[in-house]
């Protein structure tokens, strides 16, 4: 086996021939997220014959098509529900869901909530560009206040969705948020998420220069990418300032996006629990016929 050292080698090993060029615009962050994910898979040494990529609809959901592995490109918002079925049918498979902010936090919110609550064994990589990019720049549920979208031409008046806080509240085993502008931490984070049993979420803040940056006057591609450096803060620093900082410091970080690892737990995943349930039924069956079901205390 050749040791992978460059992005070229990585692409040759993992990407599908015949699918190029990609649909992504100049300055898009999606390819970078794919690259980080593949590095994480490479470091884990995962078998790509046993790894399934699932997605819904949107730019981010086109990512599985470029990867040389089984891929299920499904309907808008439903990828997580499809992925639940794949994992149930064959728990030996590794399941990765690529989704966008509209796909996951908008139309697919309910599936996300319940997969996280059930602690279904899968990794969701949500790429958040604050906009519906593929359809031309409509308002997303993650869009910052006052941002401009084709369907919010006078500025967004809705508070944005914080998907990491939601996942944390639901008790997901692993929750992290990074930006595409920070290469090293996200690769480690995706690796941790993939290796984790149960439900894991990694949210990436990623630029959409075509549909979001242009309309919100974030400057050229370089400036747009730098926006993520200037508008994010490590979660540890953020919490310290919110708890103990001065009013001035608090004001400075108020509108920034905390990034980092939000939650890291070791609760058993859904399918581990399900297997225990089946074992219990089989043992009971073999012992003696039981007339009434014994109620197992929770």
């Amino acid at each position: 086996m050749v040791e992978i050292k460059t992005a070229d080698q990585l692409n040759k090993k993992y990407l599908r021939e015949g699918m190029w060029p990609t649909i992504f615009c100049n300055g898009c962050g999606h390819g970078t997220v794919l690259e980080y994910t593949l590095w994480a898979i490479e470091e884990l040494g995962w078998d790509m014959d046993k790894t399934v990529f699932t997605s819904g609809i949107g730019c981010s959901s086109r990512l599985p098509g470029y990867i040389n592995a089984d891929g299920l490109h499904t309907t808008h918002g439903r990828a997580i529900a499809f992925a639940t079925g794949i994992k149930a049918a064959n728990p030996d498979l590794n399941i990765i869901v690529f989704t966008g902010d509209g796909d996951c936090a908008g139309i697919g919110g309910n599936h996300f909530i319940h997969a996280a609550r059930r602690n279904i064994d899968m990794t969701v990589i949500m790429i958040n560009n604050f906009i519906y990019g593929m359809t031309g720049g409509q308002l997303a549920p993650t869009a910052p206040l006052n941002s401009i979208a084709t369907t919010a031409p006078y500025g967004n008046i809705e508070p944005p969705f914080d998907i990491c806080n939601l996942a944390k509240a639901l008790g997901a085993n692993y929750v992290a948020r990074w930006t595409v502008n920070h290469p090293y931490q996200p690769i480690k984070s995706v690796k941790d998420a993939l290796a984790k049993k149960g439900f894991s979420l990694v949210e990436f803040l990623a630029p959409c220069p075509t549909a979001y940056g242009r309309r919100n006057r974030l400057g050229d591609i370089k400036k747009h990418w730098e926006w993520y450096d200037n508008n994010t803060i490590l979660i540890e620093d953020y919490e310290r300032i919110i708890n103990y900082g001065s009013e001035k410091e608090k004001e400075e970080v108020k509108n920034m996006f905390p990034i980092g690892v939000f939650q890291d737990l070791e609760k058993p995943g859904f399918f581990e629990q399900y297997e225990k349930l089946v074992d219990r039924l089989m043992i009971k069956k073999n012992k003696k016929p039981v007339k009434k079901e014994t109620v197992i205390s929770r």
Partner: protein, 394 residues
């Protein structure tokens, strides 16, 4: 934990060979006998008993039951499970069936075998949840957008709920198309005697797995291992074929071809003609006293039961009445109905809706005989006496 089909264990879990059973529960039995290993469902009257039965029995045979967050998630999960290698199934009723329509189309477009039990209730909207109807028959055929062929069976008895669920799985696996079991609140909540078929009489069909070398495999084309078969071999996820599956128009390799007219035409023609070409093998009807009939009931599901009684009463009054019962409703048995229309003077179509299967019957009759609809809505079945009026018997 991977599911292993174990007929002895399944029969042990099901119990006695002859039982007095609920229609919904018979669908559970049929599913288990067919080898279902994943069920995703969401509670809805009058289909909840299917989910409850699965929740109780499926883990006992090593399968997986998950109560999903809604019907959209339920059908999504069963499609995913099918790609993971499972025989999978869900059950719902009208409002849930409506929610499933988008992913129903996805299953057709991606050629995913799975079974949807629809225990129909009255509509539109929430309607009469506890009462039966046949208002979703056209929805099974035309409810999702685009060009497609549907396969749907309509049981009239509890035994048929069991048998048709097995048959539904067989057809689904054979044609790689979702199959709808269109039962209703009347049959679903009916209790009748059933006989569990013997293992040797089951004749289960399983999808043909992809076996040819991986570099030669083409996932969305005519079968590469069977001659004159438009149903592609199935590359189960995790078997190394690395297949890309999409609901977008795709070429033979499975890659998006959204701006190519020819690719779309080729794909949709194949996924529809794989069923229509084989329509003669997809006929399941029951013919009662049709040989000398000059009036015929053509009906299906629960409506066939009062029609049969009405037929017998009319015969005792000297009327030559017969009955054609459609067991497979979609694809529609056009040739049979067309032939019948040339034989009889009149076809009467009792339906628990305001006229659905009436339309393809009229189309097939093509003016060769009179076709009259006998509708009944509001959650009650036809009384035989009501149907006798259509026959001119007091």
């Amino acid at each position: 934990m991977k599911f292993i089909y174990d007929p002895i264990k399944i029969r042990d879990v099901l119990g006695n060979k002859i039982q007095f059973l609920l229609g919904d529960m018979a669908c559970v039995y049929g599913g288990l006998l067919a080898g279902v290993s994943f069920f995703g469902g969401y509670p809805i009257t009058p289909a909840s008993e299917v989910s409850e039965g699965m929740a109780r029995l499926l883990p006992r045979v090593g399968g997986t039951y998950i109560q999903m967050e809604d019907e959209i998630g339920s059908i999504a999960a069963i499609i995913g499970a099918s790609w993971g290698g499972a025989k999978s199934m869900t059950a719902t009723s009208g409002p849930g069936f409506s929610l499933m329509m988008e992913n129903y189309g996805y299953a057709i477009m991606t050629e995913t075998p799975c079974v949807i039990v629809n225990v129909q209730r009255t509509g539109p909207s929430t309607g009469q949840p506890t009462l039966g109807a046949q208002g979703d028959m056209m929805q099974a055929r035309y409810g999702t957008h685009g060009d497609l062929e549907a396969i749907a069976l309509a049981p009239s008895t509890v035994q048929e709920c069991l048998d048709f669920t097995i048959e539904g799985f067989n057809l689904s696996e054979k044609y790689r198309n979702p199959v709808c079991i269109m039962t209703d609140g009347e049959v679903g909540h009916l209790r009748e005697r059933i006989v569990i078929p013997d293992e040797k009489d089951l004749n289960l069909i399983n999808r043909v797995q992809a076996t040819i070398p991986k570099n030669k495999f083409i996932p969305f084309t005519d079968s590469q291992t069977r001659k004159n078969c438009k149903v592609p071999d199935f590359p189960t996820f995790g078997t190394g074929y690395r297949t890309y599956v999409t609901g977008l128009t795709h070429n033979e390799k499975g890659f998006p071809a959204t701006d190519k007219q020819k690719d779309h035409e080729k794909l949709v023609n194949r996924i529809t003609t794989k069923i229509t070409d084989d329509a003669d093998n997809l006929v399941m009807v029951e013919k009662l006293k049709l040989d000398d009939a000059d009036i015929a009931f053509v009906t299906y599901g629960a409506s066939a039961r009062p029609a049969e009684t009405a037929m017998d009463i009319a015969r005792s009054h000297g009327k030559k009445v017969g009955l054609l019962r459609l067991q497979i409703v979609w694809p529609f048995p056009e040739k049979i109905v067309s032939k019948l229309a040339k034989q009889v003077d009149k076809i009467i179509v009792p339906e628990m809706n305001l006229g659905q299967i009436y339309h393809p019957i009229k189309e097939a009759a093509c003016g060769n005989c009179e076709v009259e609809l006998a509708p009944k809505i509001g959650g009650e079945m036809h009384l035989p006496s009501e149907l006798l009026k259509y026959l001119g018997v007091k």
